[in-house]
């Protein structure tokens, strides 16, 4: 389905159409037109285009148009033969390291790497010397010269697949090396190999033409396109078409292979050809609502829409909340719940083609949904909003040293000079407990451990004076001991600066440890909001209850099975009507499946979106 769709796009159609044409001409050209291509017309030697001879004749008066057509077969056959040699040799050499064991494999890999460094044409010339001038020698030369490149590609692909766990699992299960190669490895590298082979055939065709053009390939009386071009070049003053026409044929055939390769790559899903349909729904007129007073962040009906393959995906579907000055609010949810999207949207970091809409999104007095002066907004957000991302390994620019990456904030927004900004960066690194900050500031990110990078990231947020810290799974990729250090640091920073915190996490325990209030998200909506201290005991939404019960902690009863939520989390493109949790909810009835429950607040300000949530009979605690 998908493959057919990609192949039928203009590029694919053009490529395959052209290729079919070239193959047909190659197959039938010599049968149909060999006579007309060899007949000597002594009246028209080196004639220009005419009704008889569409692109003229050569020095023996032979019709060039038909000669170009007839030459197709030899050109294509030679190119394919050479490509076949390259591929077979390349696959053997590329797969050999996997079969031959460590030491022999290393030698082969090394030899291939040395050979790849030499440009193809140089290798072709080298082999052409050995195999001699002529079609057979040239085919061997071009084929052998292409082998190292293919071997390298094949080796990289094979090595990539060999590292996958299913290959390890097969070997543990006692599957032999050859069987692993043929059953697991080759099928999984076949697609990129086919794509590259197709493209390689195109370039082999060109280098063959080049070789014949130099007079090292096909020899008279045989002729391919390169040979025709060489003959034509001498007379380019009087009769340019004689050189240009076979050239055009070479280009067309080369394009046919290349475009088909590109289309195949698209059909196999290699490369950046994913179709993203950007048709988004009309923006609904937003009514202005007043931000919650005393809040550093106030969000009303936040929606984030991403372009999907078939229709727009609603990743965040109307989220309303506020964070008071100095407050710590946690957002918990599983993958696909929209919690990270919410964080990015609040931080104004979502880019086109994704779309952010909200009735208002007010941070520290400025509504980010309303266009403002870009310069002052950059300064405002750059100094008063700190962000800590999930993966400290990839969140620093590997090409710059740590110090300047921090200092950049002060240089851009606080008008500090290089030296002063760097001094502040060192000071901030010290503030986040990085030892020897002067030396560390001069190091590159890769010289930092994960925990240290996350500290440095927090330090980067402290270059200004943050009113809010948004931390998106800041400790997920860290060890538990490092995690507790980073969380403690966050708490300390909040105590020192009075900044509020928006902590995104899938880990209920982390959120209850750190936060005052918790928002529970499911399928792009908030389903419950309550004080963090009440999460384990007073949750009312079945999802919240199940989430808490499903995660073992150090007090979990060992004699009973863990509570289980049946089914799988919602896939954002397929949100059902009605309550999104209904399919996994033990309490759900037809009403739940038909009507999405609204998020209702009780007297204490706790909110829940569930038809079945028991009305809050217990007097709820008021948030501090």
């Amino acid at each position: 389905m998908r493959a057919a769709r990609v192949l039928l796009r203009p590029v694919g159609l053009a490529g395959i159409g052209l290729l079919v044409l070239v193959v047909l001409v190659a197959a039938f050209g010599p049968i149909l037109w060999d006579g007309r291509a060899t007949v000597v017309d002594t009246d028209h030697l080196l004639a220009g285009p005419s009704a008889d001879h569409w692109i003229g004749t050569d020095n023996l008066g032979r019709d060039l148009f038909f000669r170009v057509l007839v030459a197709t077969r030899l050109s294509i056959v030679l190119a394919l033969a050479a490509t076949a040699i390259s591929i077979v040799l390349g696959v053997v050499l590329g797969a050999a390291p996997m079969l031959a064991g460590r030491r022999v494999g290393r030698v082969i890999t090394w030899a291939v790497n040395v050979l790849v460094a030499f440009p193809g044409l140089l290798l072709v010339l080298f082999f052409a010397v050995i195999f001699g001038v002529g079609a057979r020698g040239a085919a061997l030369a071009v084929g052998l010269a292409g082998a190292p490149g293919f071997a390298r590609l094949c080796h990289t692909l094979v090595a990539g697949v060999s590292e996958r766990d299913y290959v390890a699992a097969a070997r543990i299960a006692g599957v032999g090396r050859f069987r692993v190669l043929f059953r697991h490895v080759l099928p999984n590298v076949a697609e990129p190999l086919i794509v590259n082979a197709t493209m390689a055939a195109g370039s082999v065709l060109l280098s063959f033409a080049g070789l014949s053009f130099l007079g090292l390939g096909v020899q008279a009386p045989s002729y391919d396109w390169g040979r025709l071009m060489q003959d034509g070049l001498n007379g380019i003053y009087i009769h340019p078409l004689a050189a240009l026409a076979p050239g055009l044929a070479v280009i067309l055939a080369g394009l046919a292979f290349n475009l088909t390769g590109e289309a195949l790559a698209g059909a196999f899903g290699i490369g950046d050809v994913a179709t993203v349909r950007t048709a988004l729904g009309q923006a609904t007129a937003t009514e202005l609502t007043a931000p919650v007073p005393g809040a550093v962040l106030s969000v009303d009906d936040l929606r984030v829409t991403l372009p999907g393959v078939h229709q727009p995906v609603h990743a965040v579907r109307g989220v309303t909340f506020a964070i008071k000055d100095g407050e710590a609010v946690g957002v918990v949810g599983e993958s696909g719940s929209g919690k990270s999207m919410t964080a990015l949207a609040v931080a104004d970091l979502i880019e086109q083609p994704a779309r952010v809409e909200a009735n208002h999104l007010v941070f520290a007095g400025e509504d980010l949904t309303v266009p403002g002066d870009p310069e002052s907004r950059r300064k405002h957000l750059g100094t008063s909003l700190a962000i800590v991302f999930q993966d400290p390994m990839t969140s620093f620019n590997p090409a710059h040293r740590i110090g300047p990456q921090l200092a950049e904030v002060s240089r851009a927004h606080q008008g500090l000079r290089r030296r002063a900004a760097l001094a502040r960066a060192v000071d901030r690194l010290r503030a986040v407990r990085i030892r020897e900050p002067e030396r560390r500031a001069r190091q590159y990110p890769f010289q930092f451990s994960g925990g240290m990078r996350q500290r440095a990231m927090i330090g980067m947020g402290l270059m200004g004076t943050p009113r809010l810290i948004i931390a998106d799974e800041p400790t997920t990729s860290l060890d538990v001991t490092v995690q507790s250090q980073v969380l403690a640091l966050l708490a300390e920073v909040r105590r020192d600066t009075g900044a509020a915190l928006l902590l995104i996490s899938h880990d209920v325990s982390v959120v209850t440890d750190v936060c005052d209030r918790v928002l529970v998200m499911y399928a792009g909506r908030i389903v419950e909001e309550l004080p963090a201290a009440d999460l384990r005991t007073l949750a009312r939404h079945p999802y919240t209850k199940a989430l808490v019960a499903a995660v073992p902690d150090m007090e979990t009863d060992l004699d009973r099975p863990l509570a289980v939520i049946p089914g799988v989390p919602i896939d954002p493109p397929h949100v059902p009507i009605g309550c999104a949790f209904a399919a996994r909810c033990p309490l759900a009835d037809d009403h739940c499946r038909a009507v999405d429950p609204p998020l209702l607040a009780d007297a204490a300000g706790n909110r829940v979106a569930c038809h079945k949530a028991a009305p809050h009979s217990v007097t709820s605690k008021v948030t501090a």
């Binding site: 996958r164 766990d165 299913y166 390890a168 699992a169 097969a170 070997r171 543990i172 299960a173 006692g174 599957v175 059953r183 697991h184 099928p187 999984n188 100095g326 407050e327 710590a328 599983e334 993958s335 060890d479 538990v480 001991t481 490092v482 995690q483 507790s484 969380l487 708490a491 300390e492 909040r494 105590r495 009075g498 899938h506 880990d507 209920v508 325990s509 982390v510 209850t512 440890d513 750190v514 936060c515 005052d516 199940a546 989430l547 499903a550 995660v551 073992p552 902690d553 150090m554 979990t556 060992l558 099975p561 863990l562 509570a563 289980v564 939520i565 799988v568 989390p569 996994r584 501090a624």
Partner: protein
Amino acid sequence: MSVLSFRDVRVRYGSHTVLKDVSLEIGDGEVVGLVGESGSGKSTMARAAVGLAPVTGGEILLDGRPIPRRGPVRPVQMVFQDPYSSLDPRMTVGESVAEAMPGRPGKQARRAEITRLLTLVHLDPSRADDLPGRLSGGQRQRVALARALAARPEVIIADEITSSLDVSVQGAVLNLVRDMQRELGLSMLFISHNLAVVRYVAGRVAVMYGGEIVEQGPAAQVLGAPRHEYTRHLLAAVPGTIPTVKEPT
């Protein structure tokens, strides 16, 4: 009787010693939990046991004999962390499971065995003809478990098998592991960085640090009354155990 013993096992990569003379015994029908931070050598233990890491010193024995690395019988099997990498995307669930079966069972026998195994891991046997692409992460881990069981192992090594799963799915896989271990009496080395998860499935716990096992013993004792400094450090860091982190605002 199947006891897996690591005896002074050493693994070196170049000049870097990853396992420093580690000894550990996994008794018959016992689940031993292995905890520690990343880089402590947990995964290397697993890979050494199944022959994926070169053992440069010491020995790994099954019931006092070396583990067979050739032939159809592979009594030590492993389940991996990443459910998206552990199944060949081009093989159906049934083919993946069948590949690990010892000998060459006939078509009928194979089919029956696949059905039995998939039912055992609570998967609909009709999923046998599906490609892994149509399965969720939790379902894939069940298939991986079924494949490990297909080899009729005596010991299963589970390396962080729930850490890539969503929290709502993790519980179901943990329940499955416990049920299966009880029903089949398997010996198991259960590796995880999550102490609460290890506490839930393991009878005994070993703590690794810097390529060495610094403490081991019954789970209740190691996690309840730790003796080694590092274990205490590790336990103190588990979220939910130190309410002092929260700062008043």
